[in-house]
């Protein structure tokens, strides 16, 4: 079953100089898939993600998530839809300083009015899976970057959404923390069959995906699939990037 179906997506930013940010994008993500979206700065990755995450509306084309069209919903329904069907992970974590790690994770559930007992169960299960059980009582500024991002991932998936959308989740992390975060996502994908869409610059992070689509200047440019070896896939990503984007070295160093 397809979780995400985006057809004929176009996005034009009007203005004195109108910008065609996306042109004719088709993207389908099946249940349980781990898909990466890569491309140079300004290629339209984030615009695509915004369309999928219902934050921005497409100029034309349709987006269906789990068979539903989020753009036909009222603002309130949309908020509920985001809460239940979409999980978000951001580059800068977007955790609330005023809450503890546990409170940050359960926030979507409390908004939904879930019972305390069930929240606790889910919290401990997800925290165990992501290896953050020991820091549940800590504050967000007391923990490392990798732990923060895993907290954010836990928050994103605790409501058991149909798709997890990750926007440069390793962008602010060092290589070790990046590795732990990506392994966490991989394990979520494998063990819980969470569908993931990952937007990234980082070939290392992208190499955890099953499939990667490349966008350049708002158009789909290429698509590659992972074989058995992650190492080989990494090499393939580098090759594709250098083919499509010019200089591989330049791309991989971007960590904004």
């Amino acid at each position: 079953m397809n979780i995400l179906e985006a057809r004929n997506l176009n996005k034009v930013y009007p203005g004195k100089v109108s910008t065609q940010a996306l042109t004719d994008i088709h993207l389908t993500i099946a249940e349980g898939e781990f898909v990466g979206v890569m491309g140079p700065s300004g290629s339209g990755k984030t615009t695509l993600l915004n369309m999928v995450s219902t934050i921005d509306t497409p100029s034309s084309g349709t987006v269906k998530i789990g068979g539903q069209d989020p753009y036909a919903m009222s603002r309130n329904d949309l908020a509920k839809f985001r809460r239940r069907e979409l999980g978000f992970v951001f580059q800068d974590f977007n955790l609330l300083d005023t809450l503890t790690v546990a409170e940050n994770i359960v926030l979507p559930l409390t908004l939904d009015g879930m019972k305390l007992k069930e929240m606790d169960e889910r919290l401990h299960r997800i925290a165990d899976r992501l290896g953050i059980s020991g820091i549940l009582g800590s504050r967000t500024y007391e923990i490392s970057g990798g732990q923060r991002q895993r907290t954010a991932i836990a928050r994103a998936v605790i409501a058991e959404p149909s798709i997890l959308l990750a926007d440069e989740p390793t962008g602010a992390l060092d290589s070790n923390a990046s590795r732990i975060v990506m392994e966490s996502m991989e394990s979520l994908n494998e063990q819980e069959r969470t569908t993931i869409m990952l937007v990234t610059h980082d070939p290392q992070a992208a190499s955890y995906c099953h499939r990667i689509v490349f966008i350049k200047d708002g158009r789909l440019a290429a698509e590659i699939h992972r074989g058995e070896s992650r190492q080989a896939f990494f090499q393939k990503i580098i090759d594709t990037l250098s083919f499509w984007g010019g200089n591989a070295h330049e791309l991989s160093s971007i960590r904004v």
Binding site: S53, R75, N76, A79, K80, R82, D97, T98, T140
Partner: protein, 650 residues
Amino acid sequence: MNFPQFAYNNVKRNARAYFAYFLSSTFMVMIFFSFAVFIYHPVILHSEMHQMTKTGMIAAEYVIFIFAFFFVLYSISVFLKSRNKEFGLLLMLGAQPSQLNRLVFLENILIGTGAIISGMGLGMLLSKLFLLLASRMTETPELPFYWPWGAMLLTTGAFATLFLVISAMTLLFVRKRNVLELLQGNAKPKTEPKASIVLVLLGIVLLGVGYTALRVDTLEATQLFLAAGTGIAGTYFFYSQLSVLFMRLLKRNRSFVWRKTNLLWISEMAYKIKDNARVLFLITVVTSVASMSAGFVLSIDRETRSLYEDNPYAFQLSTQHPAGIAVDEAKVEAVLKREGVTYEKRQMQSLFASVGDDQSGSSINLIPASDYARIAAEWQLPSLVPEQKGQPQALLLYDEKRIDHPLASAGETLKIVASEAEVKVNEVAQSPVFATLQWGSALVVPDQIYQAAVDQFKRGDAAGLARQMLFYRVPAWDGITPRYDSEEARVAGELAKLSPRATGENRTNGYLNIRANDYQSYKQFMSMLSFIGSFVGLMFSLSSASFLYFKLHAELSRDAQMYRALSKTGLSIGEMKKSATLQIALLFFLPIVVSVIQTFVVLSPVLAILHIVNITEPVLLTTGAFLLAQLGYFLLVRGRYVSRLKRVMV
């Protein structure tokens, strides 16, 4: 460009950034000055106001000054915080810390001078309006505009000192930060607010001391000041410590906190209260002081009214003139006849004479029993049996509002000094009607004892004061408040022409006491006081609301960021509204609730000294007015705040 020029240009060209600070300083100068103009007003200074009222107004001026100090200190700390980046840049460019300090100091002096001048200018306008409106509203033409040199001197002196001290204090604000911290500004996360057990206990002890100080034996000035000091300090700890402790305890109750938007606003609230502790504290103190004074005035006003309502006599005529009361009586009754007023009258005589034993003596009004018998029922007092077992009996009347203890208690014997006659006090009584005579105390004695005392006095053997009195009762006017257009007020105006106040010459031999006129003048004075009180209160509540508004505004960008991120993860607009509204409501209404409690706690013992027991209504009335004003600001601020946040929601 030399350094002072740099500072000057900095202020001049950066006017917008300095404006809020300048404005709030000007505002405080204006309020202080207007109030000073009022209390230094020659009419007020020379009026026969109660000493307590004058002291109260001076105390209020002190409170305004203390408030101004914190207000200015607070606005400068917000102002300097917003300029952290600029300071960081200057330090990076190689400015020495001492130069930075000089810059801030010079800027402060510049702004301070400007604020004093413009504040007094605006205060001039305001106080003119203030005095004008006050006399218009209360129908007293007595507060003319004057050149308030004293007030100007006071304001300039007070605020020049204030700005100098605050400038010196700001040096401490800037000194310790390093360049990176300054450049990053407020970006770093705030640590969780913690309450210190010692300070929590200190706060509780302070509040407890304040509470008991007002309630142990007789209240005196020292206790009042002790209570004010501990109460104010305790309130500060209430916000900065007790509230934090409460929030922490609340957060332990997960089944409540982990429900819907509770998690969001309660956790935010813990920070907001701690962050705003100083602001909330200031607002509470100001609101409390304002509602206490207004409640005080209102309670007294109520008392005045009862003084009128309990007095059954529309007019009283009294004379010490030996020729007697007949001449005055004819004049008054001629007026009454002309006006077609039906009346009843009671005659009474009294002698102000010494009573007591050899050691201690006191003067008291003696009333003959036969005169008393005619009016006892009307005065709601018991009647007197002149003689019991051959011993003359007496009735002691007193007014507990005027004297602390009656001269003697029932069963004691009193000696009238002039005639050496002894009477046994049969009963001690008081009544509201007697209180309206404003006599303090009186002794009803058998006729022959009275006559003996009067004879002694007439022969010149004893000191004293003999009086004849006539009480006029107009049944048609009973129980009606004499509005200025009522018949009673009109007749009172006619009668007033007989008394010296109107013409300067005495057309009656004795003194004519007119109930309606007393009531009117008392009421005028009271309404003027309450008018000025509410004016000052309104200014305070306005400034405190703008305090909160500035504070919320300063935090808006951070909040907007948070709500935007939350909206991406599915926070609906309704939930955002609920969370934001609850937070703003708490900030706006918590101080009002606290000050209602404080007002009750403080006013009841204070007014008990004045024998005023029923304070609930006046206090609720004044705090209700504050609440209403605050509700208005709240709706305004909430509307703007929520609509700003709505824009960032996706």
